[in-house]
């Protein structure tokens, strides 16, 4: 099967940074439709630069990005690519255009020239999907960070994209807002079949995903299912990433003689795993 997004040998260097190593240096990865993918990496690993390539905001200087068979370098396809791959950014304040929630959600479909009553339908549907329908007439600057970010997600969903890229959507949020956003995008992927690409440096946010890509120095250094990725605790620590607390706990227990599996990522699974091991040990 042809992957939904194919990134091949991507090379990108920002203007005025000629003496520094390129932000992206031969990045290659495939993302399949309907999957929930996390791209992890510390600051400066190139993950945000990569994100901006998925919908043609940045164009590859060499190599290629193909979305649904469309090359992002093809200018005639640019609008089609942008409505296929929606993007949510880090700072919710700087991506909300209008002074009323529903007007903001309507912004993208208005740009696409969709008829008024269809826009109305899409806006209501999108706001219900992110659980913000009752706030539709509110002013965005009075909402909490998590709510603003959900409005931003609704603004992207109203385009009916097949994929949403979220570039560190939780970096400026409190734990409550963080959970709201992660729960929302997980639901969008599982229930609505939208491909979700989550870019983050919080390992714990990647636990519920199907596939994790770890980036360093503009390259994908490892990829796999979250359990397998997190099992390489030492390797991740070397890359400056913190592993989820559950993985950290298992890692330390194993270091002092236990033989626990790294498959348990949630707190309850981890507790079960430890309880099971303790019971067996006593026998």
């Amino acid at each position: 099967m042809e992957p939904f997004i194919r990134v091949k040998d991507l090379l990108f260097r920002y203007e005025g940074e000629e003496e520094l190593p390129p932000a992206l240096d031969g990045t290659t990865l495939d993302i399949h439709e309907g999957s929930f993918v996390a791209i992890l990496g510390r600051n400066g690993s190139g993950k945000s630069t990569l994100a901006k390539h998925f919908n043609g905001i940045l164009l590859p200087q060499s190599g290629s990005v193909t979305v649904c068979g469309m090359d992002t370098k093809d200018e005639s396809k640019l609008l089609e690519i942008r409505r296929t791959v929606g993007m949510v950014f880090q700072n919710p304040d700087n991506q909300i255009v209008a002074s009323v929630v529903e007007d903001d959600v309507a912004f993208a479909p208005e740009n696409l020239g969709i008829p008024s009553d269809e826009i109305r339908r899409r806006v209501d549907e999108a706001l219900k999907l992110v659980d913000m329908y009752e706030y539709r007439r509110h002013s965005p600057h009075l909402l909490s960070g998590g709510q603003k970010q959900r409005v931003a997600i609704a603004g992207v969903i109203a385009m009916k994209p097949r994929c949403i890229v979220l570039d560190e959507p939780t970096a400026m949020l409190d734990p409550q807002g963080r959970r709201e956003v992660i729960d929302t995008v997980t639901r969008l992927c599982r229930e609505n079949g939208i491909t979700v690409i989550l870019i983050t440096h919080h390992m714990s946010e990647a636990t519920g995903t199907d596939r994790v890509f770890v980036m360093e120095g503009g390259k994908v250094v490892c990829e796999g299912e979250p359990q397998n990725i997190f099992a390489g605790v030492e390797c991740l620590k070397k890359l400056g990433l913190t592993v989820p607390d559950t993985t950290e706990l298992i890692y330390r227990l194993n270091a002092s003689g236990f033989e626990l599996g790294y498959g348990a990522l949630t707190v309850s699974d981890c507790a079960k795993e430890i309880a099971f091991a303790l019971k067996n040990k006593r026998l």
């Binding site: 919908n55 942008r82 304040d93 700087n94 209008a98 529903e102 479909p109 208005e110 385009m159």
Partner: protein, 268 residues
């Protein structure tokens, strides 16, 4: 200090005034302002004031909030009125000092001026208070649409205005934050000579400018990501429609202007 800024504020509601088409409101307030400048006597001023008060009553916006918006402008209003007391050669002399002479005619003129400015400001406030910024800029864009033929960037202009209105609260919040951060490090914004206070604002303005540019850059990227490509082929979720009430208000505005001009002709 920053809390008094009411520019671009919107009071949600569902009154007759809220429901009027923004184009009607913009046209009416334009006519109203012209009428204010045509008006010469208490009769015409009185009727214009009455119209304003009735409109405020219908809109259910508390008079106190309307007046609060005037607060930052008090100095300008009083200054203009005071200048008018002395800037008049006619009438009976009341008192004089140095090169200034106050006359009774000047005093009356100052009173008119005070009323005129206050009513002018309050009437425009009423429009912005009862219309969402989006509707306001949409209305303005539609009204100015004919200018597109002359290559005037009407859409870009209205987009800029709606974004500016959207960012006013964000930037005020940010200015407040920076101010507090500076105060925490010993900056003094409130005391000292005027020149000192102006100088103290510099370390507030520079970070505000820098962050505005960063915001603008991020916003532009976000808009691009949401398929913004100028006004061409753009549709609207909320189409503006003229209802019966709009027709009535527009006819009334024509009548109002005619009536005020006639009154002025007869010296009333």
């Amino acid at each position: 200090m920053l809390k008094d800024v009411t520019l671009g504020q919107y009071f949600p509601g569902d009154t007759l005034i809220h429901r009027l088409d923004p184009r009607t409101k913009i046209l009416f307030v334009t006519v109203y302002i012209i009428a204010l400048f045509v008006a010469k006597t208490w009769v015409s001023y009185g009727s214009l004031l009455l119209i304003l008060l009735i409109s405020i009553a219908i809109s259910k916006i508390p008079l106190a909030s309307m007046l609060r918006g005037l607060k930052p402008l008090t100095i300008i209003i009083i200054f203009t009125a005071v200048i008018n007391i002395f800037y008049n050669g006619e009438g009976r002399q009341l008192f004089s000092f140095w090169i200034f002479t106050a006359t009774d005619a000047g005093l009356i003129k100052a009173g008119y001026m005070l009323l005129r400015i206050t009513m002018l400001i309050l009437s425009t406030f009423l429009v912005t208070y009862t219309t969402t910024p989006m509707a306001l800029t949409d209305g303005l864009e539609l009204l100015l649409n004919p200018l597109k033929k002359l290559k005037v960037p009407v859409h870009e202009f209205s987009m800029m205005m709606s974004i500016a209105l959207r960012f006013i609260p964000t930037l005020i919040e940010e200015a407040d934050k920076i101010m507090n951060a500076q105060k925490a490090r010993g900056a003094d914004f409130e005391t000292g000579k005027l020149t000192d206070r102006a100088k103290a604002l510099l370390p507030l303005l520079i970070p505000l400018f820098v962050s505005s540019f960063r915001r603008a850059d991020e916003l532009a990227t976000a808009m691009e990501a949401r398929c913004y490509h100028g006004g061409e082929g753009r549709t609207r979720m909320k189409k503006l429609r003229l209802a019966a009430a709009d027709g009535i208000v527009m006819s009334f505005s024509v009548f109002l202007l005619a009536a005020i001009i006639t009154l002025a002709r007869f010296g009333l």
